[in-house]
């Protein structure tokens, strides 16, 4: 803070006038550098609305160093004139003087002097007039006294050309009283203290204003993973829709529950080594519900329940092979089988958990991902019901424009791919898969014939990548995660945009 003395003096000056003072004028009258007054203005501004200061800039003419010399000692030509005595001066002598060269030519053009080139002992200079009028000096003196306005522009520009004058811009403040003007200065407090609260003296204190442009201090906290935040949101949506969560905490599954029970034939490409992780230890599952297994075998190899079957040699050895489940539908199959062993009541199930594929990896595909699955089992459900439930589900995600494409899936018939219209891309993009479970899957389980089971699924990673703008899945899932991204990711509310590429 500037010296309190200057501040108070400045405030007193301001108090005396009605329309304000100019900082430059104050500096001149106080005989201090203008910067001191500028500092005082800034300090007073920081105290709040004590004064108001308006920045003004003005141009004025100032003498250059050379101009100042001339104002004191006269112009070069006048000095040349005055140093020439009556008997003249040798030109060589004159040229030795510091002003000699410029002064000589100017005095010559003003016809104040003459040169006698034929003079013995070399050229000699003589006066031609008795007295001279040094206008340059007089003009400069006018400017120096602050009367530059008395000169014509042309005259000033000529002097500028001779580097005797220069035009400078001066910034100054026009200072007037502020709303809380006072001639005394109070020290500002930085923060409210317990003592101030206790004594109540905060009421008299002035507080230094905060800089609201600066960022706050980042809180020291933990963060939830963005994929898990989106999982929580999907879980919430299912719970809001009355769906019960399935126990999907079994990554290891037998081919029987993962494929055979779903009426997926044993030669199906999905059961290939290239697509599925098989286990070497424990390699095989044991203990299947034996009568159910026989019914599954029969529907595959011979048909039944109104089906032609696949008519191939179904082998228990294939069904026993342990794998990392390729879909959570394996759990849905176990749940529906369990349901069929009781007196049937309608159910709505969901799950969100990991599944595994032995596929080629790229920027959007990993060997494991999270599958979101919804299942409804009830009497007389229709394809229209499936589309209606999907509409409700996706509406909760903020997606309302849906259309359906016929598709093929070994365990659903009809099967439909779900497309939503992407406003940004101006096209329809796939957002999930759905269908009605085949009778060849449901009837061997023992479910009543008039019960339909509708289901749909989508991946958790894709909507999350879109929501958080992540292009490489490895930055999201796995140890190569970008923790800064985890720290910075916002909350996930209803309606993550599930669409796009």
């Amino acid at each position: 803070m500037a010296d309190t003395g200057v501040l108070e003096t400045l405030l007193q000056r301001v108090e005396k006038v009605d329309d304000g003072v100019d900082s430059l004028a104050v500096a001149t009258s106080l005989g201090v550098d203008h910067q001191v007054i500028v500092g005082a203005v800034k300090s007073l501004q920081a105290l709040g609305d004590v004064i108001s200061a308006e920045l003004r800039s003005s141009k004025h003419w100032e003498l250059t160093e050379e101009g100042t010399e001339i104002a004191e000692q006269g112009s070069h030509e006048s000095r040349v004139f005055s140093c020439i005595p009556q008997e003249g001066l040798a030109q060589s002598e004159l040229m030795k003087l510091p002003f000699g060269k410029i002064g000589f030519s100017k005095a010559m053009s003003s016809k104040w002097i003459r040169v006698d080139k034929a003079h013995e002992g070399g050229p000699r200079i003589f006066r031609t007039v008795e007295s001279i009028d040094d206008q340059v000096r007089e003009k400069l003196l006018l400017v120096q006294k602050g009367h530059s306005t008395q000169l014509e522009e042309k005259e000033k520009n000529e002097l500028k050309k001779r580097k005797l004058l220069s035009e400078v811009t001066v910034k100054s403040y026009w200072i007037t009283k502020g709303n809380s003007f006072s001639t005394t200065i109070t020290k500002q407090e930085t923060e409210l203290t317990p003592e101030m609260i206790a004594s109540g003296n905060w009421k008299e204190k002035k507080f230094k204003p905060y800089n609201f442009e600066a960022m706050g201090v980042a809180p020291d906290c933990g963060h939830l993973h963005p994929l898990m935040k989106v999982r929580t949101q999907f879980r919430q949506i299912f719970l809001e829709m009355g769906f019960t969560e399935m126990p999907t905490n079994n990554f290891i599954e037998s081919s029987f529950w993962n494929f055979d029970s779903l009426f997926q034939p044993q030669q199906h490409p999905a059961r290939d080594q290239h697509d599925t992780f098989f286990l070497s230890d424990p390699a095989h599952a044991h203990e299947f519900p034996q009568d159910y297994l026989e019914r599954v075998k029969k529907v595959h190899s011979e048909g039944g329940y109104g089906s032609q079957g696949y008519k191939y040699d179904w082998k228990i050895e294939e069904a026993q092979k342990n794998i990392l489940r390729t879909h959570t539908t394996a759990v849905s199959a176990r749940m529906l089988y369990k349901l069929a062993q009781q007196k049937f009541t309608p159910v709505k199930y969901f799950s969100i958990d990991r599944v595994f594929r032995n596929e080629t990896l790229d920027a959007t595909h990993l060997a494991e991902f999270h599958q979101i699955e919804g299942v409804v089992a009830d009497y007389g459900l229709t394809l229209g019901d499936l589309m209606g439930v999907l509409h409700q589900f996706f509406t909760k995600l903020g997606i309302t424009k849906l259309r359906f494409k016929p598709a093929y899936n070994p365990y659903t018939e009809p099967s439909m791919e779900v497309f939503s219209y992407h406003e940004g891309l101006k096209k329809w993009v796939e957002v999930g898969n759905s269908g009605v479970f085949r009778p060849e899957m449901l009837l061997p389980m023992g479910l009543p014939e008039d019960v339909s089971v509708i289901a749909w699924g989508l991946s958790l990673e894709r909507p999350t990548m879109i929501k958080y703008g992540i292009n490489n899945i490895r930055e999201l899932v796995g140890h190569k995660v970008n923790l800064q991204m985890v720290y910075d990711s916002p909350i996930c509310r209803s309606g993550p945009p599930t669409q796009t590429e």
Binding site: G222, T382, H479, L483
Partner: protein
Amino acid sequence: MPTVGVKRDLLFKALGRSYTDEEFDELCFEFGLELDEITSEKEIISREQGDTKASGASDVILYKIDVPANRYDLLCLEGLVRGLQVFKNKCNRYQCDLPVDPMFAALHSPQTEAVRPHAVAAVLRNITFTQERYDSFIELQEKLHQNICRKRSLVAIGTHDLDTISGPFTYTAKRPGDISFKPLNQTKEYTATQLMSLYKTDSHLRHYLHIIEDKPLYPVIYDSNGVVLSMPPIINGDHSKISLKTKNVFIECTATDQTKAKTVLDMMVTMFSEYCAQPFTVEEAEVVYPDGKTCIYPELAYRKEKLSGKFINQKVGINESTEKIAHLLTRMCLLSQATGAGDEIEVEIPPTRSDIIHACDIMEDAAIAYGFNNITRTTPRTYTVANQFPLNKLTELLRQDLAAAGFTEALNFALCSQEDIAEKLGKKISEMRAVHISNPKTAEFQVARTTLLPGLLKTIAANRKMPLPLKLFEISDVVLKDETKDVGARNSRRFCAVYYNKSPGFEVIHGLLDRTMQLLEVKPARGEGYHIQTADDSTFFPGRCADIFVRGKNVGRLGVLHPDVINRFELTMPCSALEMDIEPFL
């Protein structure tokens, strides 16, 4: 999903009209196809091999169309056109013709039983090939081989110029050294043994060698003069190869799955009998089995199903008349009519539609013909009360409070290398109750994790640029072998946390344990509460490791990591960790 490439102009000519790309895309969508890409041969070559190679290639526009995996009848231009035309109310019918010469029979010998027991055959008589038809004919075989034939392992197709060979043919199996013939596009004869090594380096054929490689006898087909037609599923003989000029085609399919062999044969002949002198007519072949039984192929079986209009209406959620439904089905290649008995509809399933195996498949076709997007969307009245899976509910609640305790959630893979869960932690893999994967493509997928700790340490290693301390946690499943389960393994829900800083911060991890126990309402006490007690574990620094006991049961461990472990995970700072089972708290 198989992709079929067809020339656009040819397609439109066959469909009898042209479409804009958008119109055609829309037609595909409604039918359950996907117009995947609009391209040209030139574009494909230029993309795959560079512009220089592409110059001079054809720039005729190609449509790449994705076809559902069960619709083998749509794998070529001919089939696509028929499918789409029918969708637009046109239809045709396939029939069998008796052999011109009953001599064209295939004899089946018992030696094939152990290697490739089934064979079927048929003849396309007086066919006219053009370059496009010929290409499509070859392409369909390839598509069938890749899809329904499961890369020739289930079925292999051989096509021959019948005029170069003479029946009856013999399907047998011989020792590889005893089979010798000039294979397709080769200049000299090879034995089967030589062929197998010749094709080891063939980019196309080497993928099929494994099917018979280790068999003592290889399947082979001879004509009555001892000419080799083919050595399925590897290669045909050069002698009987077909060309643009071929008039009569002998088609044989050998297989390990007879149903699929019949389907494939039906598909080949139904698709290309269109170009025979008598369109859609196929000549039969007789197959004589070792036991003397004979069968006539192709079967070209038309099957009839009866179902009710009510069934379709109820399953789809529409309300259409029986006649309208019959009409919808007819549009999908399923010739149907109301029988007049109530709302009964009789549906005829043609040999091309092997995918129709149940009434629900017919119902789907009715829904497709009706238009999925024309069906009214309804809300089922199913009343249920939602329940959370208790383990997931506990996990969700704990995660929130652990983040509130200042730890950041990580999310790691359930699969990892053996090294991650054993050597790197100073343990032996044989001591882990890990499940092992038999077919991992890389070491990253050798085992399912038995602990969450390696994942968190790898997460730190990948984020060493982040300011210290790093405080991470994960609540997720590990997999352990468990004899009591039907599959011999079970998941175990774990909570793991690590603290990584310039000092080990055991007190921080210990404090997190205290906080976790507080959240789980377990008091610090021996007996009914929780306590920790010195333990020995090669993962941890000696004397800096303790077991966690809850109500007398060991649920996990915490401590300062061993410097060797820190080094093996490419870390440089001290680190303390905690891992425990959360299932006991349910």
